[in-house]
């Protein structure tokens, strides 16, 4: 029985094959074009430049991409469901692990939403500390972006330089809150601890150093002829296209849309700080890289001003209960994360646990543009485009 089946299928295969051959012959007679076949390449989920666990099914015709089908969800850890089973404070460490390259900013986005929900005031010193650590973390995240962009373009050396600078930031964080990477530093109503002695001077010294070294690194990477040739004019998208696809953050600003939450919907003490939102106009790969590099400079500016303005005082608002219990209601607050508009939409039913937490991760919105802009480009460039969209899979999959 089985054999019969087998025979039948092989027979059918043969028929198909012969039909294919005959059709090929016919078409070759008709047209002189070289017939090429589309090759399906599986990119990921484990690939040196997949930035985690992304799977893209790339269809390539020679070196040109004719179709991309992204698959995500390989790191789906159901944070939103977990949040419903934790108290408001207990959920803070989860935000660390969401966009793990900018944990401080995630902390911040979450606590600012809970504060809005529970109407908690934050002491001024805590606000300034939040700005300082947030911007330091933005720098750290952008340094990782630049180093991976360099690796994907084939230059291995800048990675070591950028990571060296990042280590210095991690060292500062370690002094501040004891962790290198997942900080759990912010609290509803302030920050966990005050700075150790001399920490702010260390921060200033670091920014002075970075200001100088960034010039060199920019020369090394962004000034490189090959790097520019690889990046310039690749996968540009216009402002309309970027908005239509819901991009936010530096990727959107590289297309000429001035949408920076720090400016558009100011929070914390940003109104008192003088800085520019980096807006570039080509929207190609090179601009997306330059935008990050420029943002590092802006962040240095912000940190310097914040350190100069920071007052003395408490870092945690007095009388905060151990378990925050906001009144029933809904709140949405968002901040400018290093990848874009990071928002938390929280619904409280009056219990110590949230009824629903919706996390609006910028990487999720940014990544979905990939099939639209990478189709038609080179396979090598698709990897770069994917890199410049700067998706962190903890945040995409949540």
């Amino acid at each position: 029985m089985d054999k019969l089946e087998q025979l039948k299928t092989t027979r059918a295969d043969l028929d198909d094959l012969s039909a294919e051959f005959s059709s090929n012959e016919e078409s070759e007679e008709g047209s002189k074009d070289i017939k090429t076949d589309v090759l399906t390449i599986n990119f990921g989920p484990q690939h040196p430049s997949a930035h985690g666990v992304f799977r893209g099914v790339f269809e390539v015709d020679g070196e040109i991409i004719v179709g991309i089908e992204p698959h995500i969800g390989y790191l789906h850890r159901c944070f939103e469901k977990i949040a419903e089973h934790r108290t408001y404070t207990q959920f803070i460490p989860f935000t660390d692990r969401m966009d793990y390259l900018s944990s401080m900013l995630n902390n911040w986005g979450y606590v600012i939403s809970v504060e809005k929900l529970a109407d908690v005031a934050v002491p001024e010193r805590a606000e300034y500390l939040r700005v300082i650590v947030g911007e330091l973390n933005r720098i750290a995240s952008h340094l990782v972006f630049l180093s991976t962009a360099a690796i994907e373009a084939g230059a291995l050396t800048p990675y070591f330089y950028y990571f060296d600078e990042r280590e210095r930031i991690l060292w500062l964080f370690e002094q501040l809150c004891g962790a290198r990477f997942t900080y759990n530093y912010m609290r509803v109503g302030g920050v966990r601890v005050d700075t150790p002695d001399g920490w702010l001077d260390d921060v200033l010294a670091f920014t002075e150093r970075l200001e100088k070294t960034m010039v060199d690194y920019d020369k090394l990477l962004l000034g490189n002829y090959i790097f520019k040739k690889r990046m310039k004019g690749v996968a540009p998208f216009s402002a309309e296209q970027a908005l239509d696809w819901g991009l936010t953050g530096p990727s959107l600003r590289a297309s000429g849309v001035n949408y920076d939450v720090r400016k558009a919907d100011p929070y914390s003490v940003y109104p008192r700080i003088d800085f520019d939102a980096v807006v570039l106009y080509n929207g190609d790969n090179l601009d997306r890289v330059i935008a990050r590099s420029q943002e590092i400079i802006q962040s240095i500016n912000i940190i310097k001003q914040a350190v100069a303005q920071i007052p003395d005082g408490r870092v945690y608002s007095p009388g905060m209960p151990r378990y925050v219990t906001p009144p029933p209601g809904e709140a949405y607050a968002h901040i400018e994360s290093s990848r874009g508009d990071l928002g938390f939409y929280i619904i409280s039913d009056g219990s110590p646990k949230p009824y629903r937490v919706k996390i609006q991760g910028p990487s999720f919105g940014n990544l979905q543009v990939l099939p639209a802009i990478a189709t038609g480009s080179f396979f090598s460039d698709a990897v770069l485009i994917f890199g410049t969209l700067d998706a962190v899979f903890g945040e995409v999959d949540r």
């Binding site: 239509d244 696809w245 849309v257 109104p271 520019d276 709140a331 928002g343």
Partner: protein, 184 residues
């Protein structure tokens, strides 16, 4: 520069259904519409300059799922954000897709479909996005549970139950592929 723009919060005159717009605490301008009118309202908002679709999310209530859309305008002078809410009954969770208006809605609607089971009419490619295709159930609904989930709680204890922590440590050599695919 955005900080030079004169923020005029009352400029909602040209919006559709302006009579129903309320300012909710914690959310800002909010408009609750019937699900039949959602697409029409969204079209009006798009024409009024709301060009950035930020997210759509579901909230599971006992009898219905509330969908919350957040959209933003970079063109309008006051750069306002806007929340649109609509409700779909659990028995028939169908609503119009907004992908024709904003391409960005694509993955967000797939996410809502995956996690809440809301079907979006007119979506070009409505598949599960996070969970595997053969997953049973929609995890973010309140009644979803499997072996590992905490029991959906009426108690408001801060600590997770210890028994659950124990049970997950000795769940043995279960085949990983099958683990967690238990029924709703």
């Amino acid at each position: 520069m955005s900080d030079e723009i004169n923020v005029n919060d009352n400029n909602i005159e040209d919006l559709p259904a302006k009579g129903m717009i309320v300012q909710e605490k914690g959310l800002g301008y909010t408009l609750t519409v019937d699900r039949k009118d959602l697409f029409k309202t969204a079209t009006g908002l798009k024409e009024a300059g709301f060009d950035l679709f930020l997210f759509v999310s579901g909230v599971d209530y006992p009898n219905h799922i509330k969908l919350v859309y957040r959209i933003y305008s970079t063109k309008r002078a006051n750069r306002m954000a806007f929340v649109v809410k609509t409700e779909v009954p659990k028995r028939d969770p169908v609503v119009d897709s907004l992908v024709p208006l904003w391409s960005a809605a694509n993955w967000h609607e797939r996410e809502a479909y995956d996690l809440f089971g809301v079907e979006f009419k007119g979506h070009p490619d409505l598949r599960r996005i996070f969970m595997p295709e053969d997953w049973v159930g929609h995890p973010l609904r309140k009644d979803y549970s499997d072996g590992h989930m905490l029991v959906s709680d009426s108690d408001t204890q801060a600590k997770p139950k210890l028994s659950v922590v124990d049970s997950q440590t000795d769940d043995g050599d279960e085949d990983a592929g099958d683990e967690g695919k238990s029924e709703e």
